[in-house]
Amino acid sequence: MAGEVLKNIGAGTLHYRLSARKLVGTAAYMLFLLAVMVGIIGLVTLLVQVLVEGLPWLSPHFLTSYSSRHPEEAGIKAAMVGTIWLMGLTAAFTIPVGVGAAIYLEEYAPVNRLTRLIEVNIANLAGVPSIVYGLLGLALFVQALSMGRSLLAGALTLSLLVLPIVILSSREAIKAVPYTYREAAYGLGATQWEVVRRVIIPAALPGILTGTILAMSRAIGEAAPVIAISALVYLTFVPVDPLDRFTVLPIQIFNWMSRPQEDFRGLAAAGIIILLVILLSMNSVAAFVRNRYQARSEE
């Protein structure tokens, strides 16, 4: 039979069946490609639809006006400034606390049951639905600590939400620093803090930044916990200090999308574009810092 190669090796025969095996390989390849395409096509469709609907609404007026009942007068200023404020504050709380906790768990914590319990809990917290954090923030920050429905309360709530992500990814980055670097530094008479500061943090920084980007990207798109804290849509001022009330882009977008008038759908799409632009510029700053650090250590 053509194509069927046989070889007798004494106790039996090898059937190579090369063409059939290659066919299976090709089928697997096609399946994987299809899986990738589903994601890419979905994303592209989404982007195109948002751009088509939203671009006509994007204008200087849209960026500099407050929301309104009349679509042609409505703008996104309050939500945009609110989001920028909220992200800045959230990053300011999350990065030091998250990275600090990761360093403690990896470098200082004794290996015992309590440490393991804390580790398991952090991993579980990463999976808690965000509305639960919203309710926690409402009870703890807004009411118990009387911060009111302020930016500060919102940022602290979002920090709690994304801290587990930052801690987990920073720990992975620290764990990936070779043990031999630690030995080398200790062997030169460095103290534990000097080892952490001069060797471990610089080597882990690219990974820590990647985790932080992921966490902030999650935070910027969250509507549920912020609705629990703020729930404001019609704001005719921008926050100027952390105790001011605020609204954010996801809430504004959600509100516009739920209106019956067609025009508000366009406004929502324009809002999504702004959200994406802020997200992407945040990510590129982090990517820039990360690449600079990597380049410096490899040059």
Binding site: P178, T180, R182, E183, A184, Y186, G187, L188, A190
Partner: protein, 257 residues
């Protein structure tokens, strides 16, 4: 060897990792400004013994030490001694070259930085690289990453890094085992050149290497409970040509490993 001045002296040294005893009753003297080699089969505790001399073994969880190691009459395990200071005075070079992911210059300057050096860093970096026979190869690219160097160059950089803080002793844990034969010879030459100024203690699996570079050799073995003990030690030519213990002879003639 009676007239040698002794820089480090282990007395009744026992080491445990949790319940497991890694070393038993080690008594050993390290002569100043000479090369001492530790040889012995895998798992006999050579590296553990080496790491006791600058208290690096303490970084491993559950390790405990009994006995004394005297440096100029002072027990380095005394409660008032800070291991950080011991490690600044007794440097270490590891099995795998482990330069930091920093520039060549910053690698050599690291020990100066953490130990509060005030003075001409540039000068110390150059002197250390010269002493490690690396200066000519790297002098034009001190600011490029140490990770770009070859394995042998990286190991000499690690030696320069250790030399920069002027340690009295350098411990080397199989420093050439990850290197090719030519780089290995370069490291051995370097040890011979450095020995008049700094005490070197080396762990090696390579008996020819011990015979080539060392002045004193210590032979360790593993007991039935897997605890390492010192079989004998003495002048290297003695150990290799006329060992007192038949187990030493069996080991150096390759009858077991």
């Amino acid at each position: 060897m009676e007239q040698d001045s002794i820089v480090l002296r282990a007395q009744g040294l026992n080491v445990w990792y949790g319940e497991f005893q890694a070393l038993r009753d080690i008594d050993l003297e390290i002569p100043r400004n000479r090369v001492t080699a530790f040889i012995g089969p895998s798992g006999c505790g050579k590296s553990t013994l080496l790491r006791c001399f600058n208290r690096m073994n303490e970084l491993l969880p559950n390790s405990s030490v009994q006995g004394r190691i005297l440096m100029e009459g002072q027990d380095i395990y005394a409660s008032n001694v800070d291991p950080t200071e011991i490690r600044a005075r007794i440097g270490m070079v590891f099995q795998k070259p482990n330069p930091f992911p920093k520039s060549i210059f910053d690698n050599v300057a690291f020990g100066l930085k953490v130990n509060g050096f005030q003075g001409n860093v540039q000068e110390v970096v150059e002197r250390s690289l010269r002493r490690a026979a690396l200066w000519d190869e790297v002098k034009d690219r001190l600011n490029s990453s140490a990770l770009r160097l070859s394995g042998g160059q990286q190991q000499r950089l690690c030696i320069a890094r250790a030399l920069a803080v002027e340690p009295e002793v350098i411990l080397m844990d199989e420093p050439a085992s990850a290197l090719d034969p030519i780089a290995t010879l370069a490291i051995e030459d370097l040890m011979r050149e450095l020995a008049p100024e700094v005490t070197i203690v080396i762990v090696t699996h390579n008996m020819q290497q011990a015979a080539r570079v060392s002045y004193q050799t210590a032979f360790l073995m593993m007991g039935e409970d897997r605890a390492g003990y010192l079989v004998e030690h003495g002048a290297t030519p003695e150990i290799f040509t006329n060992p007192k213990d038949e187990r030493t002879e069996a080991y150096i003639t390759g009858r077991f490993s």
